[in-house]
Symmetry: C2
Subunit: 336 residues, 2 copies
Amino acid sequence: MKQYNVAIVGATGAVGEQMRRILESREFPVQNLKLLASSRSEGKRLTWKRTGILVETLAPGSFAGVDIALFSAGSDISREYAPIARDAGAVVIDNSSAWRMESDVPLIVPEVNRQALAGHRGIIANPNCSTIQMVVVLKPLHDRWGLKRVVVSTYQAVSGTGRKAVEELMSQSRAYLAGEAINPEVYPHQIAFNLIPQIESFGEDGYSKEETKMIDETRKIMGLPRLPVTATTVRTPVIIGHAETVNVEFVEPVDVEEARDVLAAADGVEVVDEPAAGVYPMPIHAVGKDSCFVGRLRLDNSVPSGLNLWVVADNLRKGAALNAVQIAECLVENGL
Amino acid sequence: MKQYNVAIVGATGAVGEQMRRILESREFPVQNLKLLASSRSEGKRLTWKRTGILVETLAPGSFAGVDIALFSAGSDISREYAPIARDAGAVVIDNSSAWRMESDVPLIVPEVNRQALAGHRGIIANPNCSTIQMVVVLKPLHDRWGLKRVVVSTYQAVSGTGRKAVEELMSQSRAYLAGEAINPEVYPHQIAFNLIPQIESFGEDGYSKEETKMIDETRKIMGLPRLPVTATTVRTPVIIGHAETVNVEFVEPVDVEEARDVLAAADGVEVVDEPAAGVYPMPIHAVGKDSCFVGRLRLDNSVPSGLNLWVVADNLRKGAALNAVQIAECLVENGL
């Protein structure tokens, strides 16, 4: 089997670490793995299979001989280095928001729109974490009944912000329990035992960037540029695992039992839905898992054909690293 | 000014404590205060003004001479003792769900439907916490533009369950941070650093009791028995302060600026809405406050006239004890 030279840009971050683990656990055909990060991490040794790899400082010359470059180092780095990597001959799979809405950049969730990879121009975008777990669930329902409108509210984990946010939640929780003062650094307010209805900055329409991403990216991935979608995104004191209430209106009359079957048969989806037995998706059960978990399926009788859903996934895996590696797998199947 | 003999049933609970504090801080015209609880609390002394009152064991004879009885001891106690208190001559204001949907029991949020107190038969119901904070915000908007449909998702604090749930969140958080095992007792699953999409038990339609309450009670309080409403309710690792994303469709075309003005002028509502400055409602800011805080106002362009809102309130105060005392104040104004 053909082997590929792979680079991870942002290899020391929370998502970069997951990318390395998932490449290994899914036995991705890696010939050489290059771990790139800022100069602060230079010389750090990270495990790969039964050995260790030294982290190198990201530089314009880093991509010689690289076939696939997985980026997860923020939008600024992606905007600067993704074209450099592409021009050096690599196919870039970018986890930042820098390229997602460019018309010539495919925005891919393999279970939903892998066909949109055809004719890519060397940069492929990995969607926002909250968007991925929603569209994986919406796609099979859309194919069956036709989406009419989606109202989503998110309950997002701090690991989506990065390692420092996880440390902040832990240290604030400790401080609170000890009766000590809390000084927010990563977030604008205390996150321990609180809710912050802000994820990224706000636009003039009052929507946060995260909310706008969920609306725009859902339309692009689903290939429904006018799909009525609205979103409210909220940070919760959870470590790993984003959750969402998704209220869906359909064109055709939906049936709950059939929706359960349609979802159970869908790629990447796991139905966890025996609420009377206390069985429903939760962040603590999603950690380290590949699936998007869906439960709390109920008819919404406030519209002619409505369904309420509760969707949970590991935001670092399906929401980021796993989806990026799955895109790489599609590229390999397609011969890049 | 006329003074009243008041009893609190469930005086040692989280809501009962707030009732006592709020009666005092609002200078409710109390002649004698009677604190009633189960026999486990007998002899406990609780502060009242500059003195202390002994807790008495609730019994059928407890209500002799009582004018107003505030109940917050669960549905079973309310079902048994509210008629006894009423027959003894007291007006009962009941915080449980036992009587809320009875056709001859007014379900009251003073800012919304105090007129429904007229002709009461001795038992008045205090709505569910999540419902109260939503209808206080919906009422002025309905008066202006006409409600067409409401989709709500809740982010609920553990204090809504009671003192033991608060202790459970604290002790589980400590255990998690110390790397120790977590053994849920109050909730069916770990609540620390997690989300539980279950509040109370589930009906055959898949809705939890809390969700059904939000739908049914909203319709009754608003006097809109067919209002299309749907709800998903979720327990979050927050101590005090319920939050809600409320997506509203209107009959008439809504305007965001005017909605802000309408809400700012409404009784019991405080607009906190400068998101670019990091100013929006949050549980930590709502604790101990009387208002329902609303922010994140945005047009929802997925429907002809839609608005997204984020509503936060102290679930023990406006969500329970304060609203009950406000009902008592209305009764006093009406001459009981």
